[in-house]
Symmetry: C2
Subunit: 257 residues, 2 copies
């Protein structure tokens, strides 16, 4: 009996028309059967948001050999949930988010809709990977990434990932890479985050912008350092966010009423 091809569910936060998603599809050609359920427009910064106040719909965009593309009115996480519920013929072997137009290393993991996709796949018990390029332009060049995306994807399919752990893979914006480094999340923060403008009819409005402040620029095991040096940064990411190290201390607090 012929072995079934792996089934790969893809989504993103830049929307179904984004170049990064379509380059991902191109780069994974032949690796498996692909089902895409992506937002019908940009959802950058959607994090793990879900849609609870209104209903969600989806539509088939196109279908070809080994690929079916749907678009969805919801968030990136909605896309994963709805695809798993309504369109996949069987449980996917892999969930992929991306390729994101923009850096999801360091604290960006907390804001990223791409990583929302990946964490949702992981919460559903499916090996999950997010790919992001440190270039947010719509026409960014994804060519240099594709051999790495393919290799990492094949390795995850072959080896699997431990339960509750997914991968956050970021690529520097360069024509070639020095190699792959396994990293930890860099400590940092966004500063100077708002640009104030005056509304023509009065009052202020604010655009979210900001500059990234790296709290540990010399840390050679951190993802932001690796990217700055020209490496592909693979940051294993977990869904258990318990701070185990402080549990004992908290038990000494005076919390009796």
């Amino acid at each position: 009996m012929k072995k079934e091809k792996p089934l790969i569910l893809l989504s993103n936060d830049d929307g179904v028309e984004a170049k990064g998603l379509n380059e991902l599809i191109r780069g994974l050609s032949g690796v498996g059967e692909m089902i895409v359920m992506a937002p019908d427009g940009p959802r950058s910064g959607a994090s793990g948001a879900i849609t609870s106040e209104r209903p969600v719909r989806y539509y088939k965009e196109r279908e070809e050999e080994g690929l079916t593309v749907y678009k969805c009115t919801g968030t990136p996480v909605d896309c994963v949930k709805l695809a798993l519920h309504a369109v996949v013929p069987r449980r996917p072997d892999l969930v992929i988010g991306g390729i994101n137009h923009g850096d999801n290393s360091s604290v960006n993991v907390h804001y990223s809709g791409t990583m929302g996709v990946v964490i949702e796949g992981c919460l559903k018990g499916i090996p999950s990977v997010g790919y992001s390029l440190c270039n947010h332009h719509a026409d960014a060049d994804f060519d240099p990434l594709l051999p790495y995306v393919r290799r990492i994807t094949e390795q995850v399919l072959e080896r699997g990932l431990p339960s509750g752990i997914c991968l956050n893979v970021n690529f520097p914006d360069r024509p070639t890479f020095k190699g792959v480094r396994i990293c930890r999340q860099t400590a940092g923060a966004w500063v100077n985050e708002w640009k104030r403008s005056l509304h023509p009819r009065g009052g202020d409005y604010f655009w979210l912008i900001g500059e990234y402040d790296n709290h540990e620029p010399e840390a050679e095991d951190s993802d932001h350092w690796a990217l700055g040096q020209g490496y592909v940064a693979v940051t294993p990411t977990q869904i258990d966010v318990t701070a185990y190290g402080v549990m004992d201390e908290l038990k000494n607090w005076n919390l009796k009423i």
Copy 2:
């Protein structure tokens, strides 16, 4: 010189008019000077989402002794970012999210706008706490929580929290509690997540609902167990989501191109 009262920044994801937020303000009366920047409507399930595609505005709602309330057109995380940028007179001593109408224990931490607020405060280096009640009704009874909310808040102000660590506090829906337990995040997942309905003009639409499936119902150190037994569950939560335990194994993968 008289010691300055602590400055507390409050937000939520149920919106500025939600009972939980206003009960929180009532419960913390006198503990510190309070500034509220809350969404102008419900943002349940907003997670760590930020608004990047359009500008954000805020408006002063009301001002009284020790309390100023603003509403904001953005997400819960936007509220924290914008308050810190535009309205606080000095760096807050504490950021609080809540009191949420609904359970944010276990994997809900990943979808919660309340915990989005808290994680954002933590990312900004400010001690941060989220309070949630396991009852999502608009008129839920928050009275039993208030002495605990006040005590935990006072303890955080007195003792601080380690850098990068915040608290996720959940209350069972009961008139009294057995006490407080320091917990870890329960492993679980949402299942049967969508209700399909037929649109009157054709086609399906989907409401996100779902049932919580606890993967470890007997785990006495987990937050969901504590809630089920009638305890207040305090789950320390960290912003570093690196899965340190798998880094060495990943270094053996074949990732050379």
